[in-house]
Point group: D2
Chain length 269, copies 4
Amino acid sequence: MASLAPEIEVLAPVRDSGMTRDKAIAFAEEKELPVNVTSRSPYSIDQNLWGRSCETGHLEDIWEAPHDDVWSYTEDSGVPRDPDELVISFADGAPIAIDGRPLPPLDIITELNARAGAQGVGRVDMVEDRLVGIKSREIYEAPGAIALLAAHSELESVCMELDLSRFKRSAEQRWTELVYDGLWFSPLKSALDAFMAEASRYVTGDVRLRLHGGQAVVTGRRSPVSLYDYGLATYDTGDTFDQSLAKGFVELWGLPSRVAAMREHRAGR
Amino acid sequence: MASLAPEIEVLAPVRDSGMTRDKAIAFAEEKELPVNVTSRSPYSIDQNLWGRSCETGHLEDIWEAPHDDVWSYTEDSGVPRDPDELVISFADGAPIAIDGRPLPPLDIITELNARAGAQGVGRVDMVEDRLVGIKSREIYEAPGAIALLAAHSELESVCMELDLSRFKRSAEQRWTELVYDGLWFSPLKSALDAFMAEASRYVTGDVRLRLHGGQAVVTGRRSPVSLYDYGLATYDTGDTFDQSLAKGFVELWGLPSRVAAMREHRAGR
Amino acid sequence: MASLAPEIEVLAPVRDSGMTRDKAIAFAEEKELPVNVTSRSPYSIDQNLWGRSCETGHLEDIWEAPHDDVWSYTEDSGVPRDPDELVISFADGAPIAIDGRPLPPLDIITELNARAGAQGVGRVDMVEDRLVGIKSREIYEAPGAIALLAAHSELESVCMELDLSRFKRSAEQRWTELVYDGLWFSPLKSALDAFMAEASRYVTGDVRLRLHGGQAVVTGRRSPVSLYDYGLATYDTGDTFDQSLAKGFVELWGLPSRVAAMREHRAGR
Amino acid sequence: MASLAPEIEVLAPVRDSGMTRDKAIAFAEEKELPVNVTSRSPYSIDQNLWGRSCETGHLEDIWEAPHDDVWSYTEDSGVPRDPDELVISFADGAPIAIDGRPLPPLDIITELNARAGAQGVGRVDMVEDRLVGIKSREIYEAPGAIALLAAHSELESVCMELDLSRFKRSAEQRWTELVYDGLWFSPLKSALDAFMAEASRYVTGDVRLRLHGGQAVVTGRRSPVSLYDYGLATYDTGDTFDQSLAKGFVELWGLPSRVAAMREHRAGR
């Protein structure tokens, strides 16, 4: 809001008046303001298309396991049921189809939330750091997001060159920090978005996912622009990889460490 | 080897003579060299205390799901069985006990391999990048390691300050790259080890883990040196966190983005 | 070459035949091949529009100062002469004019090489790490590049938001590593280029530079899209920065360190 | 303070009462409080052993060059004078002697401030980002620090292995951010200190520095634990570097980019 329309003043009356959570609930009840939290349901819940989070109540004792009533988007993974297998297709990093049916992003998330949630996929129970420097224990449910991430990440492994995927890991960590910290519209976020768009140019193909027992497991991947090359990877007869080059590579790769080790011996430390 | 005893020459006869895997197996059979791979068992297997990896054979078709015969350290997570719950204790980042029984590291890995493997925890099926620039599909089983990582990581969330844990993520990525790339004895590895030792000083406490259905799920954590502070985290009456400070923080936190957004509007882009 | 036209085989006869530098020079002289290095001029020199590098000869003794005959693009900064002051204009990160005269990039480098070189700007004497793991001592002259970097970097300080400029530092370090390591056409380089293009969108304005005595010193900067705001930066009457917000910011900024310090005291370490 | 003695409350009366700089000066004059800033000397000055900073006054116009009266620790580099050459010795990263005379750190800084300042070394004129999100123009003088950094950095190039020095650059950037942002006593700072101590173990040797015309230029370096190896670096006869290994290294080094380029051609993008 501050970024999109800086002329609008943001009011945060509960925060700025110093109300505790108890008083804010009492105030809302007294004034008949429509809030879906009552003093009987002790959780503070946020939810949207991507997921659902839950905090406070018994969760504040971080040694206590979450009670069953905190979960809503996901089934209990311990109940025996048949697995669900599906294929997600991606183009340039974005999901475009499930089981061969082209779908808009909204439908992909909705369907994955339903199917992955039904298998108990997507529960997270963690202590995290709020922006203002406080640790907090949160329960998340994000079945569709977690299934998508598993599939997408594995497709990247197939289609993305090593140096790029190593650097992308630190870039995406920074991206998530910015988003978590409320800086979606910041200049750094824009520049990282440009990086991600270029990095994702060849993240195209299909991933087969097995949803079962709380897990989303990749069981196959294929891509018309894969960097996986059967001829290079195999050790079999007909191998197109020139093993003789490996000697020079390995020798020089370790050279700086070897020179440093010789110094260590010489210095007697 | 090159680092510890640079005067010893390393010979790699299979690589340097350009033998394919097929020929190397035939050579070993002909010369009666003891190798536990035959032309009938097509996998290339490495294994040690920490885990087991398996490649080649049908795994080279990355669209094909792993056959059941590739697994050895882990049971099928789809078979219904009772969950196993345990408590791992850590001191300064290292595991020291299971269920209150002090154990040396070797016994901890061994016991966790057995108990987590029995619940199907620790299977990994991935395409990865070998050092020499080739993508390869590998199956890993590391039940003990994966259970330990889940517990350790959550204890860090409780005991480690935010800036440190954010930076540690990039430092540990670099650490794993060095180890994967064969640079265990490199100067950078030593300096990162010193960083990790200091960073782990307060990673002390207990984590309760539920092993079931292929998953190792943290259900509780506690620490005598926790940074989680119930009084700060709660929104309830008696809150010791001064909410009035949050206004100043949030306003100034977003200030640079707001100034940049005003420029964007002014520039009309 | 390997990236642009992978079907063309690269030959490196001197390297692959194991010729030393001495023998290669003798071979070239015998065969009357046109190389501008003779056994009398002992330096190995590379040069292009951006700069000139010089190695070997007496430079291999890294305790010895460079002799005067190694320099070619730059004058001796110790000779007294009048300073040269100029204004470089940038649009979206790229230089577009000198002293108000619009110029194509080639002319900007050429003119800056001449004017900065005449003031002795741009000499570098360093030990560096070649890709193959060997340290080497090199002399560089890059007068235009160093003047441009000084101006560009300061304009970024004026026009770039803090988080972006902090992250850009690690991104540009990686960029330079890739370029030094011969990976100009790599996928990571392309993705970093996309990042840089977006990051540079508002790096627009003028920088006044004083070239004198071997130094390129910024003495002024101005930009129509500056993030420097006189009203915010001053402490004077009429100040538009609400100092009262600073209290909340500073208190919460230091909160995680304070909580960690209280733990340290409690733990008595 | 908040970290060392969290029980002590920090008061910031000028900030918290919302006084402007003008009013604070008037208040101090009225109450006869000893402050060395008057309404006639318009700069806001901070100074200590390491350096001196100066802001406000005409400096708030960032297009205007600094007037001569802002400088105090450094002479005008434009005045012709004889150069000063010195040798700084380091042990494990810390300076221990000048010109062969062992000195405690305090004397090293003091002497370098005097000698480098006399040659005009150490002036910085920059726009920077204050922690609270405001850009500010500052003048710094840090003659000793800048001379030390030049010498230390070059010694690192001689004694530090490549991977370590590349990673150290991002670690030291983070270190400086923490220090600038007031987090000297934070847990991340401690862990980075441990990293730096280990990384500096072999940064031992001498650097010869030429101070002249505002510049501190390294003209020689030597170390008993150098990683620079004349035999490896030269191309001359007797070369101990096996050039034949380079072929394998270079081929495999570029392999991932080559495979990515072949994809690019195939995909026709």
